[in-house]
Structures are given as structure tokens and as C-alpha cells.
Symmetry: C2
Subunit: 240 residues, 2 copies
């Protein structure tokens, strides 16, 4: 179970409603825990997910059981499983944006940013980051609210990546065609192909990183070339 | 229900075992149909799938009911729902490869191949091609056998695309860096972003086609540029 954190340090989506009385634990019945926070239910749901078990197939009853509370107590934190699933995705987004931070720390020079970012991503994947697994696997199935939550988190990630790409290109004095589309393409490619890593042996990771690095190089190179085209050195595009 | 086709015109995965006696329909009980072919069960399963209902959540009982047969008769065609799901994906692959054919017919010149292919893809999507919807939505969840079947179909599609890309580049006298990676990147991007079209209004399709066309242009342009690099005009890659 995640350690309790100060309430105002939690993202809004995970803050439990303020208790009616200060710090008086309410027993849910013989052998059950006192009232818990949303974070505990999200953690319980995450423990139950896996390669053949998506969040959308979890029942309220089993999540409550995993969290050690009575089903009725679930309703103190969430209206239903859909609301929990959305909260889970919001927490997954934090994990996701942590990848950008990891990547910046790993990059020692402009030349290693792509590879460093990919390695940061694979490291999170292999560190059994279940939040990331859910994002990768389940973005396309589930309720509308769930899918919108996934898109929202992906969008935040793409925005941070776009800002980084612009910053790097500017530092190199290079133009860049449609950085928003480049960052979206990179994000979706890494997610789609990175997701396959979950179903492949870890020995395959290095080859996958190499393939993704090549694809990203091609995208970046093409974006720079198209930017030069717009600036006046127009070549007819080979295929359009 | 799909019209019956000659048995040897069906893909192997959909051929029913040869009947024990020639053309003697076996009744499954009062009010139920005579024995059916695998195709009918696959069609029944497809009718039940939707935006919030993945193949892996369907039960044998409901598929049999939808097909109008007794549950026990299901076993004459498939060992279990997993085997049906794999057969469904194999049929979806045919639909998928039909997109390449559509795209070739739509392309009137080298300049319109990318756009023509994307429009062929979106047309299939909007024609309520449920097979395509299943491939787009469900490739990442389900049994290992199911996911392997999805990968296999995607791989066939990527191979056809790769052959087309090489052919087109050769016709233009252009080199091409790693056509296998380019075709995989294009396929995965179109699938990942095309899949979002299912959850967006059709009015958004044209904008999505435009964005995908730009991403593909960047990939192709970058592939040509990297090919020139290898041929001797080496520029330092802007970011690596």
C-alpha cells in the first residue's frame, strides 16, 4: 500500500474528502481496516491488473477486497469503478511525465537525447511500472471517460516533449516543421511499439530501442528538411 | 449472416471440418438452426463487439445464442472462444490487406499515394468495418494467442507496404533508408491515430488525414535524407 502523504501534496484527483471528525478511524466491521484514502483503492486496483486483466474488467467488490475494506466503504472515495479508473489514469500521467524528467537527466549531450529518452522509457517499463502498463495497454478500451482521461495524459506528455524539441532545435539553430505533429508521432510510436515490449523478452529491448531511435531520427530529419523547404529551398517532396 | 462460400474458397482458418455425412443438416434442437460453419460464429461474435465490448469479453454462450445455435454445437467449430478470436483476427487481416489494394486503386500518381492510402483507410473505418475496429482497438489486450495473431496480421500488412515503398522509391530513382522500419512506423502510427478516429466525430476525419499525411511525409523525407547520408553526403544528424 502506498504510504500516506500529506493531503495537499496529493493531486486533486486523489484527495479523499476531508474527514468529518479529525483522525478518528472508523471501523468497517470485524477484521477490516479503518477508512482509507483514494490512493489505497487505486493501488489495490493496480495490483489486480496485468497482461490479461484490464482495469475495465475489475469489479468494485474485488478491488474493495484487495484493499481490505467493505464494499460499501468504496463509495466514500469513488462513485463507481469508472471514477476510480479515471483517477488511476491521472496518477499514471504523473508517472508518464516523470519519464521526461528521467530523460533530461540521462541526456549528457544533444547527441544522446533520443537514445537517453528511449532508455528512460524502457527502464520504467521494466521497473514494473504498472501505471505505465495500463496506459500502454488499455488506452483504447473502456468507458468514454476512461479513454478521455488517457488522451488527456498523453496530450500533457506530448506538450512537454514538443517544448523540449523546440528548445533543442533552437539551440542548434535549426528550423523545425510542425513540432506538435513530430511530438505526437514520437509519443504514439513509442507507446505503440514500446507496448509490444511488454509481451516480448527483455533481451529484445536493446533491438527495439535501436529501431525506435532510427524511426525518431527519420522523423526529426524529415521535420528539419521540410522546415528548410518552407524557408525557400523548395525541393519537390519525393512522395506526397 | 455471411453467405456460405465454397469450402475451398475460405481461408484455412475458417473452413469447417468436413461433415460426417454429405449435406445432412443436423438439428440442434427445437427452434435452432442446423449445423453452421465457423464463418457464422465469427460473424456472430463480430456483431456483438463494439466500442465498449471487446472480443475477449464475449462468452461462448452469448456468441452461440447470437448465431442461433446451442452452446454445445459451438464445439463442433472451435475448441473455445480463444480459438474463435484468433480466427476472427485472421479474417480481419484479409480486410486489412484489402486497404492496400484500395489504396493502389485510388492513387492516380506518385504524388497522391500517401493521401490516397489514408483516405482508403478512413473509408474502411467509416464503412463500419468491424474487423478493422477490432484490430485497432484490441491488439493490446487478450490472450497471448490473440495478441500473436494480431501481430502476425500487422506484419503481413507491413510487408506489403514495405514492398510498395521500395517500388515507388525505385521508380523515382531515390534511395531509401530502412524501408522495413519506415513501413512499420507508418503502419503503427496510422493504427494508433486512426484508432482515435473511432472515438471522434467524422467531421474530424479530414484534419486527421492531413496530420497523418504530414507525419508520413516527414518519415519518408527523413528516410530519403538518411539514405543520401549513407551514400556519402554525410551530414551530422541534428539530434541523435
Amino acid at each position: 500500500m502506498l504510504a500516506h502523504r500529506r493531503r495537499d501534496a496529493l493531486p486533486v484527483s486523489l484527495r479523499s474528502p476531508a474527514p468529518a471528525s479529525d483522525d478518528v478511524p472508523v471501523s468497517d466491521g470485524p477484521g477490516r481496516k479503518p477508512s482509507i484514502v483514494r490512493e489505497d483503492l487505486v493501488a489495490a486496483a493496480l495490483r489486480l491488473t496485468g497482461p490479461h486483466r484490464s482495469v475495465s474488467t475489475l469489479s468494485l467488490r474485488e478491488v474493495a477486497r484487495e484493499a481490505g475494506i467493505a464494499p460499501n466503504s468504496f463509495y466514500r472515495q469513488f462513485h463507481d469503478m469508472d471514477e476510480l479508473a479515471v483517477a488511476l489514469i491521472d496518477v499514471a500521467g504523473e508517472s508518464l511525465r516523470g519519464i521526461i524528467g528521467d530523460a533530461r537527466r540521462r541526456a549528457v549531450s544533444g547527441r544522446s537525447i533520443v537514445r537517453g529518452s528511449l532508455e528512460a522509457f524502457m527502464a520504467r517499463l521494466r521497473a514494473d511500472d504498472k501505471l505505465l502498463h495500463v496506459l500502454l495497454r488499455e488506452g483504447t478500451v473502456g468507458s468514454d471517460a476512461f479513454k478521455r482521461a488517457v488522451d488527456r495524459q498523453l496530450h500533457f506528455f506530448e506538450e512537454e516533449l514538443r517544448a523540449d524539441l523546440i528548445r533543442i532545435a533552437a539551440a542548434q539553430g535549426l528550423g523545425f516543421h510542425r513540432p506538435d505533429l513530430v511530438s505526437r508521432a514520437i509519443t504514439r510510436l513509442v507507446f505503440a511499439l514500446g507496448g509490444t515490449a511488454l509481451d516480448s523478452p527483455p533481451e529484445r529491448d536493446a533491438a527495439l530501442v535501436e529501431e525506435l531511435a532510427q524511426m525518431i531520427r527519420m522523423l526529426l530529419r524529415g521535420a528539419h528538411a521540410l522546415s528548410r523547404d518552407s524557408a525557400g529551398n523548395r525541393m519537390p517532396p519525393p512522395v506526397d
